[in-house]
Symmetry: C2
Subunit: 80 residues, 2 copies
DNA sequence: TCATAATGTTGTATATACACAACAAAAATT
DNA sequence: AATTTTTGTTGTGTATATACAACATTATGA
């Protein structure tokens, strides 16, 4: 299973699943499935989502769990 | 359809499809399908392949056609 | 040249991604 | 509080990713 940050990226933009679904051309329930981890996006959909959010694909999808925002920020600070 | 550089990355390493298939845990014919563009890899397989070749995913897969090596090198030179 | 390995092709079967519908529950808006 | 929007759940149908097998073709190597 591939982890993703779709929900975070979406809510950050104040969008509903329906909004996002329309933007990338899928059914709104498909977004729900991905957010809940019911199944993986196809490569094609993963690229569309990454492009929509303007992030590289592996910033939105990863074979390993993402850090939380807190961990991320702490790691960045530690790396200074 | 998503473009990929699997064949280039594989032959560069002097590997057969069978070798690569075993390394990422799929049937060797699946590699052939991907190389020929018969269908897309799943996100999961795309990540395994990128990791195997030690490149970021979007260096091995792209929604837009890859440049040839010649174009790539010319572009790099022009960017100096 | 002969044998072997690598690749392409066709066909069948299965798992999974996605669409769509109906309805329930929760959250947001008025 | 009532209405509307958003999200979750279940179920069914279809398309596509992958496995596997058999055989043809092409390349490699002894």
């Amino acid at each position: 299973m591939i982890y993703n940050r779709i929900k975070m990226l979406r809510t950050e933009k104040g969008l509903s699943r329906k909004d996002l679904a329309e933007a990338v051309g899928v059914n709104f329930q498909t977004i729900g499935y991905l957010e809940r981890g019911d199944y993986n996006a196809s490569l094609e959909l993963a690229f569309k989502l990454a492009e929509f959010f303007e992030v590289p694909l592996d910033m939105a999808f990863s074979p390993r769990p993402f850090k939380t925002l807190a961990e991320e920020l702490a790691a960045m600070k530690a790396a200074e």
